[in-house]
């Protein structure tokens, strides 16, 4: 669907994207993650030609974006909807007219427009609010209008720039669920830009980690988070600090293995004491995964590691500089 290779973007002399390479397959939810200023929005805006790029190649549905003429760019934008952190709705229009706006721009006849808008508002669950002014809506409702508007022209790709960053956690989940539902229903490909790790974990199959315009990691979301590189670790700001004595080992639990069985099994098999110092359960896409941090005495370290090896668990001895 989207192929990026060696992409570079400069503002004046300053490079904000350097040598970015990745591709997004049809139907994927692809995350772009990084701190503020990493270049996420800029990357996204290159996709629908809101920004140009200086080197490398960026192909959307087989067409090189840089080589498109005005009509080509317009068509490209028709094929890609976009939603925003600040919703960017028109305050001078009501809900209906905001959703109808892209259709007006493209000269769709009034009758058809009406039908399409009501269909979209039905889809996002706001059909009863079509006459309301957008100022009177809540953040979540505004984003629903934004989604309806972005889908008005039946795009194949949906670009989301921090779409949930202005929303509270509960609304965030509702919007992510809505995105997933429309993705399924409309066979969309979604690019999801965010600085919220929870959002990527919940929503994305694969992700690109961006820092200061450089790729810091790319791959499946769960494997990136389950076996983070040092850079990623720094970025995800691990909240587990270390216990002074002994060795901390972090265990990850792939879906086949039950946590309790491992812990009790190990205690029984090795007959040693160890303590659980931390842990976290997280939702990845469709199942719950997690890790535990256990603290074992130096004396037992080798036996414990051997045992973990036998059990084919993911594990890691944590060093102090996390």
């Amino acid at each position: 669907m989207i192929e990026v290779s060696g992409l570079e973007k400069r503002y004046g002399g300053k490079a904000v994207l350097k040598d970015i390479t990745f591709s997004v397959a049809r139907g994927e939810v692809f995350g772009v993650v990084g701190h503020s200023g990493a270049g996420k929005s800029t990357l996204l805006r290159c996709f629908n030609a809101l920004e140009d790029y200086q080197a490398g190649s960026l192909k959307v549905m087989g067409r090189e974006v840089k080589d498109l003429d005005r009509a080509g760019r317009k068509q490209l934008r028709r094929d890609m909807g976009m939603i925003f952190q600040t919703f960017n709705l028109m305050g001078s229009k009501n809900v209906f007219d905001n959703v109808a706006f892209p259709l007006e721009i493209w000269g769709i006849a009034r009758e058809k427009r009406r039908e399409r808008v009501m269909e979209l508002l039905e889809l996002v669950g706001l059909a009863d609010k079509y006459k309301e002014r957008v100022q009177s809506l809540s953040g979540g409702q505004k984003q629903r209008v934004g989604i309806a508007r972005a889908l008005a022209l039946s795009p194949k790709i949906l670009l989301c720039d921090e779409a949930t960053s202005a929303l509270d956690p509960k609304t965030t989940i509702a919007i992510l669920d809505l995105l997933e539902a429309v993705r399924r229903e409309l066979n969309l490909t979604i690019i999801l830009v965010t600085h919220q790790m929870e959002v990527v974990k919940r929503a994305c199959n694969r992700m690109l980690l961006l820092d200061k315009g450089l790729t810091q990691g790319i791959g499946k979301t769960d494997s990136l988070f389950l076996a983070p590189t040092p850079d990623l670790k720094k970025l995800i700001e691990d909240e587990f600090t270390l216990i002074p004595t002994g060795v901390n080992i972090r265990l990850w639990f792939p879906r086949e293995i039950s946590r309790n069985a491992v812990i009790t099994g190990m205690a029984r098999a090795l007959d040693i004491d160890f303590s659980i110092v931390g842990g976290k359960l997280e939702r990845y896409l469709d199942d719950v995964r997690g890790f535990l941090i256990i603290n074992v005495d130096d004396r037992h370290l080798e036996r414990v590691l051997n045992y973990l090896q036998e059990q084919k668990l993911f594990w890691e001895v944590m060093d102090d500089e996390i």
């Binding site: 934008r77 028709r78 976009m82 600040t86 709705l89 028109m90 001078s92 706006f101 721009i105 508007r149």
Partner: protein, 259 residues
């Protein structure tokens, strides 16, 4: 809240009515007139000046309406070009922007009375003559258009850039962005500013009247000042006050309607 401010307005209104009545009574006493004689005098004065007053009002309305309309349209055009070619614009053209920017500021810095004289040859060329109500519309428009341009440019800049970006993201072109995004989003603020501009033009038109445009300012100057007919000046002022109130109220009303 609402009834509160309503009551306040009522009291204010009563207060000023009372004040006016007291002044009137005081005048009667000072000039030792009976109320009947006083009303008769007012009616006589009005009858004497009525035709000229209405003609002047009509001339003023023509000048203000036409020059506001033209300067708003020209200002909108200039502002659109400036917002597009400006540093943050959709198609930055520094040279074009700098040129417009300079022209607008030079025109704004000329005192109006100088401007009228300065462009008289142009007025004569375009309108056939430099004297009269309609020819005066030209200098008025030339004076007000740069103001309108600046005001509208500022109102356009106020429009959330994200909204423009959203419109671009689903394929809106530059023309569509100006007419269907910037204009409707900025319209309430523009209307308020245009009302202010129209009131300023009312003032300018009085000056323009003095050099041959006619209108209320001219009437007050010709008869009221030069011929010492103070009652004419008072009638002119009264009509001007009402005009200003009307323009401002219309602006406020439209603003509230559109917002």
């Amino acid at each position: 809240m609402k009834s509160d401010s309503g009551t306040q307005k009522l009291f204010l209104g009563l207060f000023f009515c009372g004040l006016a009545l007291a002044t009137f009574v005081l005048c009667l006493y000072l000039f030792s007139l009976s109320p009947k004689e006083a009303f008769q005098a007012i009616a006589d004065s009005f009858a004497r000046i009525r035709e000229e007053l209405f003609l002047s009002l009509w001339q003023t309305l023509c000048m203000v309406f036409l020059s506001t309309l033209f300067s708003a349209v020209i200002g909108f055009g200039l502002a659109s070009v400036m917002i597009i070619t400006g540093p943050q614009g959709l198609a930055p053209r520094p040279a074009v922007y700098a040129a417009l920017d300079a022209v607008v500021d030079v025109l704004r810095s000329l005192p109006f009375i100088i401007l009228i004289i300065f462009i008289m040859p142009l007025t004569r060329l375009v309108m056939g003559t430099a004297i009269g109500t309609l020819p005066t519309v030209l200098p008025l428009t030339v004076a007000a258009a740069p103001f309108a341009a600046r005001i509208i440019e500022a109102n356009f800049l106020e429009v959330d850039r994200g909204v423009v970006e959203a419109a671009r993201s689903f394929g809106a072109g530059i023309g569509q962005i100006i007419f269907r995004v910037l204009l409707p989003e900025a319209l309430p603020a523009i209307i308020l500013n245009i009302a202010v501009l129209a009131i300023a033009l009312l003032g300018y038109s009085a000056m323009a009247g003095a050099v041959g445009g006619g209108g209320l300012g001219d009437l007050a100057y010709r008869l009221g000042y030069n011929r010492f007919q103070n009652d004419v000046s008072v009638w002119c002022i009264l009509v001007l006050v009402i005009l200003v109130r009307c323009i401002q109220s219309a602006g406020n009303l439209l603003y509230r309607r559109l917002r």
